[in-house]
């Protein structure tokens, strides 16, 4: 009986510790809490034992225990019984705690290493995808032509390209910027793509005023837009219209990028790497509070949707 109640109570304590994530607390705070909890546990166990013994044997100290405490008064027996409870529970809890802490540390180390690796890989991929050489050299080529054809537009294009490059180089993996700022950058990007695609690229924007101030990961929207053009509009002979929308609802920012795409674009899913990177970044930054969904269920249409805490 005593054993059973002891096991039950310490198990409850274990669940309690886990539930409140005491293992993640600083050592002093954790030890204090565990000591108080153990004492409370011992008192509870002690009272329970007394109660049960009273019920079963008609005396607070069980006959077996009485055999040990022959030379003690009832008060002494009760005191010894309590000390015994504290020692047993304390020892048990200490043993558990040592084991759990070691395990906790080990798991934390493994997770840290995994996270570090993932971050590094994401950083590297991001760097590569940010400086899309295909885009860059095509833009420069268009620019060379524009210098002769339309010097004013050429000068604007140089400014746009410079702004875009600066933004790209300055933004890190965990940088958050206002959607407004990101949109400015996307506009520069779209202006440069328009040079290249001419009348094949149309753009429709539907940005709610409330959405403009929301903080978003730098280059996130840009990645989606670039994907839309690369795998969608640029692949279509007549081109198409890119639809950009942003709104805030229920504490969430909802970003959507929609574009037409070739119907028979079988094989690789459109924008595999870019979308995967963006998803990974969202997960690292916001955990489960953000999501990215690429909908390719409708033929000839792609729709990417991002939800972020607003």
């Amino acid at each position: 009986m005593v054993c059973l109640s002891g096991i039950g109570l310490t198990h409850a304590l274990k669940l309690f510790i886990r539930w409140h994530a005491w293992l993640s607390l600083p050592p002093a705070a954790m030890l204090g809490r565990v000591a108080i909890a153990t004492l409370a546990l011992s008192i509870a166990s002690y009272l329970l034992t007394l109660g049960m013994s009273e019920l079963v044997y008609g005396s607070p100290v069980a006959p077996i225990a009485q055999a040990f405490y022959q030379r003690l008064t009832v008060g002494g027996q009760l005191r010894n019984q309590f000390i015994y409870m504290v020692i047993v529970h304390g020892g048990w809890v200490a043993l558990y705690l040592a084991f759990a802490m070691q395990r906790h540390r080990y798991r934390a180390e493994v997770r840290q290493a995994q996270l570090g690796e993932a971050l590094q890989a994401a950083e590297l991929r991001l760097l590569k995808s940010q400086l899309n050489p295909h885009f860059l050299f095509n833009a420069l080529n268009g620019l060379r032509s524009l210098i002769a054809d339309d010097p004013t537009r050429a000068r604007d294009a140089v400014t746009q390209l410079a702004r875009l490059l600066r933004y790209t180089l300055a933004s890190g993996d965990d940088d958050l910027v206002s959607l407004e700022r990101e949109l400015e950058m996307v506009d520069d990007y779209l202006a440069l793509e328009s040079l290249r695609l001419a009348d094949r690229l149309g753009v429709e924007r539907d940005i709610e005023a409330a959405a403009r101030g929301v903080r978003v990961p730098a280059m996130l929207l840009q990645t989606l837009v670039e994907n839309s053009i690369k795998h969608g509009i640029a692949e279509l002979k007549p081109g198409g219209t890119l639809k950009l929308s942003a709104r805030v609802a229920g504490g969430q920012l909802l970003l959507r990028v929609e574009n037409p795409r070739p119907v028979d674009s079988g094989g690789e899913p459109a924008g595999g790497v870019g979308i995967r990177n963006a998803t990974e970044r969202l997960r690292l930054l916001f955990g489960a509070r953000a999501s990215l969904h690429l909908d390719l269920s409708r033929p000839g249409l792609a729709s990417a949707e991002v939800r972020l805490p607003a």
Partner: protein, 234 residues
């Protein structure tokens, strides 16, 4: 030298035309924004050289080459896909990186002119096949192919040490081959006269033809008569 410019970007086409304007020997006869337009333009304008972009909507530059019976001289123009060109085992081929450097263009044109003005080379250049076999690509000058063998609906070429597979039927290929140079030896093989080293009489009026650096081919009885008639002419 007649040139066709193929690129999906209007600005890129303009830029290249402007660069080419400095070379009086080159006359830009047309331009195309995708491979369908390019195919039509090549058929109607018969350019000597095609400046060909790789990434285009509706099909790549390689796709265009796949569809051509006669492949003009090709110079790929690309912003960053030169790795694609290099990854393919493409011979006798030039590529220009965009933005195109005028000096680099001049070099490419000099090489082209050397090829186009020399008569024998001109024939060879104009009579080449583009073959994409798995991850490898070739421009194969027809005169260097010693044997064409049917393999199902395709044709296996014997070209030096290479054995590329052409995605066309032997009958379709025969229609475009010069009958003065190529001969149908039997139901499934066409040989190049230039590669015949030795001919031996076989049973029942058949002929055995030994190809230089190649196998022995049996000429069927029916074709043997034609072969004799032809051989005396040559």
């Amino acid at each position: 030298m007649k040139a066709l410019v193929v690129d999906d970007e209007p600005l890129a086409r303009r830029e290249l035309k402007r660069l080419l304007a400095d070379f009086p020997a080159v006359q830009v006869v047309g331009e195309a924004g995708n491979i369908d337009e390019a195919r039509v333009a090549i058929a109607s304008l018969a350019p000597d050289v095609v400046f060909l972009d790789i990434q285009m909507p509706g099909g790549t530059g390689f796709d265009l080459l796949d569809q051509l019976d006669r492949v003009p001289r090709i110079v790929f123009t690309t912003a960053y896909d030169h790795y694609a060109v290099k990854a393919f085992d493409v011979n006798a081929l030039d590529y220009l990186l965009k933005p195109i450097e005028p000096e680099r263009l001049a070099t490419a044109l000099r090489k082209l002119e050397a090829g186009v003005t020399e008569p024998t080379a001109r024939d060879a250049r104009l009579d080449q096949l583009f073959i994409r076999d798995g991850h490898r690509c070739w421009f194969v000058p027809l005169r260097e192919v010693s044997l064409f063998s049917a393999e199902g609906n395709y044709v296996r070429l014997l070209w030096g040490k290479e054995r590329p597979l052409l995605g066309r039927s032997l009958a379709a290929l025969e229609a475009r081959l010069d009958p003065q140079r190529y001969f149908r030896a039997n139901r499934s093989q066409i040989v190049n006269f230039d590669f015949i080293q030795q001919v031996e009489l076989g049973d029942g009026g058949r002929l055995h033809v030994q190809l230089r650096d190649g196998p022995e081919i049996e000429v069927s009885r029916r074709q043997a008569r034609l072969f004799r008639a032809r051989a005396t002419v040559i």
